[in-house]
C-alpha cells in the first residue's frame, strides 16, 4: 500500500497556486485596482481635499486612506477565491483539486488564506501609493492587524460562497457590484457620521462595512466614529458563521461534485 505523504504539502501547493495565479494576470487583478485608488487620492485627497479643512483632526487625505484601504482589502480577498473557483469550475480543472488527497478543511483554508493574502497585497499597495503624497504612521498596530485579518477572512469566505454558487459571470459580480461597493461608499469612506443626516446616516449606522472601516481607521490614524470592540465582536461572529457554512458546502461538494 502507498505510504502516507505529508499532510501539508498538498495544502501548501494549493495555497501557492491560488496566490500565484493572480500574479499571472496582473492586468485583471492588480493594476486596475491600484490605478483607481491613485485617482481617488489625486481627486479627493489632493484636488478636493485641499479645500476641506481637517476632518476629525486629520487631513482629508489621511481621513479617506483607511476607507480606500478597506475597499481594496475587501476587493482582493473576495475576488481571489470567487474568480478562481468560478473559472476552475467552468474550465473543469477544479477536478485536479477534487481528486487530490487534500482534506476539506485544508481546501477551504487554502482558498481563504490566498484570498486574504491578495487582499493584504492590494491594501499594502494602497498605503504605498498614499505614501507618495503624505506621511503615514500607524496608530494602533494590533487593532489594525486584527481588523484586517478578520475583514479579509470574512470576504474570502464570501468569495468562496459566491464562486461556488455562481453559474454565470454576471452572478459572480452581483455581490460585489450591488452589495459590497455601495455599502463601502455608504460606510464612511469619505465622511464621518456627523457630516451626514437622514437616510444616509441611518444606512451608515446599520452598515457592517462602516464598522470595519471605523476599526481600521482607528488602527491606522487613531480616529474613531463608533465602538471598536463592538465591531470586533461582530466580525468574529460573522467570520465564524461564514467559515462554518463555507466549510460545510465544500465538504458536501456543493456545485463541485456532481
Amino acid at each position: 500500500m502507498k505510504t502516507k505523504t505529508s499532510d501539508w504539502i498538498p495544502f501548501y501547493t494549493l495555497f501557492k497556486r491560488e496566490f500565484l495565479r493572480f500574479f499571472k494576470v496582473p492586468n485583471n487583478t492588480i493594476f486596475p485596482q491600484l490605478i483607481t485608488v491613485l485617482f481617488y487620492f489625486l481627486i479627493f485627497g489632493i484636488a478636493i481635499g485641499s479645500r476641506i479643512k481637517e476632518v476629525s483632526g486629520v487631513s482629508y487625505f489621511l481621513f479617506i486612506l483607511p476607507g480606500l484601504f478597506v475597499q481594496l482589502l475587501i476587493n482582493g480577498s473576495y475576488s481571489n477565491p470567487s474568480g478562481s473557483l468560478y473559472v476552475a469550475r467552468n474550465f473543469g480543472n477544479i477536478t485536479d483539486i477534487l481528486l487530490a488527497p487534500i482534506s476539506y478543511i485544508q481546501f477551504t483554508l487554502a482558498y481563504i488564506f490566498a484570498g486574504m493574502l491578495r487582499g493584504f497585497f492590494l491594501g499594502l499597495g494602497t498605503i504605498i501609493i498614499a505614501m507618495l503624497f503624505i506621511n503615514v504612521s500607524i496608530h494602533h498596530f494590533w487593532i489594525l492587524i486584527i481588523y484586517c485579518l478578520l475583514i479579509s477572512f470574512v470576504f474570502a469566505c464570501f468569495g468562496i460562497l459566491v464562486g461556488l454558487w455562481a453559474e454565470t459571470w454576471e452572478q459572480l459580480n452581483i455581490f460585489i457590484n450591488f452589495v459590497v461597493t455601495p455599502l463601502t461608499f455608504l460606510g464612511g469612506v469619505f465622511y464621518t457620521l456627523d457630516m451626514v443626516s437622514g437616510t444616509i446616516a441611518t444606512i451608515t449606522q446599520f452598515n457592517p462595512i462602516f464598522y470595519m472601516i471605523n476599526g481600521v481607521r482607528y488602527g491606522m490614524i487613531g480616529v474613531q466614529d463608533g465602538n471598536i470592540y463592538l465591531g470586533l465582536i461582530f466580525l468574529v461572529i460573522i467570520a465564524s458563521i461564514l467559515f462554518m457554512i463555507t466549510y460545510k458546502l465544500i465538504q458536501k461538494g456543493y456545485h463541485l461534485r456532481t
Binding site: 500500500m1 502507498k2 502516507k4 505523504t5 505529508s6 499532510d7 504539502i9 498538498p10 501548501y12 501547493t13 494549493l14 501557492k16 497556486r17 495565479r21 499571472k24 494576470v25 473559472v87 476552475a88 474550465f91 473543469g92 480543472n93 477536478t95 485536479d96 483539486i97 477534487l98 481528486l99 487530490a100 488527497p101 487534500i102 482534506s103 458536501k252 461538494g253 461534485r257 456532481t258
Partner: protein, 313 residues
C-alpha cells in the same frame, strides 16, 4: 486481494427543471483485482464514466459502498484518493500555467516536494515525447498531446491504481501502440489498470477481465478468454463444387445457403463437432465440396450481439 470493491452502487441524477430522474448506475457490484487490467466496456451513456466518478469521488454516489485498497471513498477519502491516478474522459487543465508547472503542481497536490515532482515530470515528459513542450501552454498542444499529458498527470504520484477513461481517443496509430506497450509495462510492475474504450480490439489486446455495462447494469463480467470462449459465434463456410439442394439433415445446423456457399454459425465450443457433422452429411449425400474455411469470432462482434440482445429484452 482486491484493489477496488464496489457493492450495490447506485448513482441517480435528478434533473430539477424536468423533474426527471436518471439512474446512470443502477445497483452494480463488482471487484477489481489487484494487479489486473480491467476492461470496462459499454455503449455511450451506459454508465462507465459515472462509475469511475463515484470511485474517484468526482460524483457523490446515491447509495452503495466503494472501497479503494480497503479505504472507504467517503470516510477515508484522503487515503482512497492517494491510491488513484485518473486520466478523465473530458480533458481539463489549469489554464494559467505551463505544461511543466501543471505537472509540478499536480505532484504537489499529492504531497510531492517540488524537486521530486520536477524530476518525475521530466522523466514522464521525455518518455511521452513532450519534453520539448514543457514551456508551452495547454492551448498550444494538439488533441493527442493533451491526452498524453493527462496520462502523465495521472501518473505523477505513482498511483497503485490507474484509471484511464478512453485514453486512446484522439491518439494516432503509433501513439496508440506505444500507449498499449506502456500500459502493459506499468501493469507488469504491479499497477492495477482500469480501462474504458470503444475500441474493443484494445480491450481484447490488453484486458485480463472485461465488464460490459449497459444502461447502468453490468451485463457480463468475466475473464476475457472465457467471454470469447463462451460467446464466440464462429463462422464455417463450405464452398460446393455444384449447386445442389441440401438434405433436411442440415436443419440441425444454423446455416445459410446461397450460390454454392454454405455459411454455418456455430458456438465456438461446438465448432469442431458441427464442422464434422456438416462434412459427414455432405459426404453421405455425395455432394462434393470445393473448399471450406472457419472464421474466428472477435470480441467486437460478441460485444455488439450482447448489447443488441440486451436492448431487445
Amino acid at each position: 486481494m482486491n484493489s477496488i470493491e464496489i457493492q450495490g452502487l447506485v448513482k441517480k441524477f435528478t434533473i430539477k427543471k424536468k423533474k426527471e430522474e436518471v439512474f446512470a448506475v443502477n445497483n452494480i457490484s463488482f471487484n477489481i483485482k489487484k494487479g489486473e487490467i480491467f476492461g470496462f466496456l459499454g455503449p455511450n451513456g451506459a454508465g462507465k464514466t459515472t462509475t469511475i466518478n463515484c470511485i474517484t469521488q468526482l460524483s457523490n454516489k446515491t447509495s452503495g459502498k466503494i472501497l479503494v485498497n480497503g479505504h472507504d471513498v467517503e470516510k477515508q477519502y484522503r487515503e482512497a484518493r492517494n491510491q488513484i491516478g485518473l486520466s478523465p474522459q473530458d480533458l481539463t487543465f489549469d489554464p494559467y500555467f505551463t505544461i511543466l508547472e501543471i505537472l509540478v503542481y499536480q505532484g504537489g497536490y499529492f504531497g510531492m516536494l517540488k524537486k521530486q515532482a520536477q524530476k518525475r515530470a521530466e522523466k514522464l515528459l521525455k518518455q511521452f515525447e513532450l519534453w520539448e513542450k514543457r514551456k508551452s501552454r495547454i492551448k498550444q498542444l494538439s488533441g493527442g498531446m493533451k491526452r498524453k499529458l493527462s496520462i502523465i498527470k495521472a501518473m505523477m504520484h505513482k498511483p497503485e491504481i490507474l484509471i484511464l477513461d478512453e485514453p486512446t481517443a484522439a491518439l494516432d496509430v503509433d501513439s496508440r501502440y506505444e500507449l498499449w506497450e506502456f500500459i502493459k509495462k506499468l501493469n507488469e510492475q504491479g499497477i492495477t489498470i482500469i480501462l474504458t474504450t470503444h475500441y474493443i480490439e484494445e480491450a481484447e489486446k490488453l484486458a485480463d477481465r472485461i465488464a460490459i455495462i449497459n444502461k447502468g447494469k453490468i451485463i457480463k463480467l468475466e475473464e476475457k478468454e472465457k467471454i470469447i470462449e463462451d460467446l464466440s459465434q464462429n463462422k464455417i463456410t463450405i464452398y460446393l463444387k455444384e449447386d445442389k439442394k441440401l438434405p433436411k439433415e442440415f436443419n440441425q445446423l444454423n446455416y445459410d445457403y446461397k450460390d454454392k456457399k454454405i455459411i454455418i454459425q456455430t458456438p465456438k465450443k461446438d465448432q469442431n463437432k458441427n464442422l464434422r457433422l456438416a462434412l459427414k452429411i455432405l459426404e453421405e449425400q455425395k455432394i462434393e465440396i470445393e473448399n471450406f474455411s472457419v472464421d474466428q469470432d472477435n470480441l467486437e462482434n460478441i460485444f455488439r450481439r450482447l448489447i443488441k440482445n440486451e436492448n431487445q429484452n
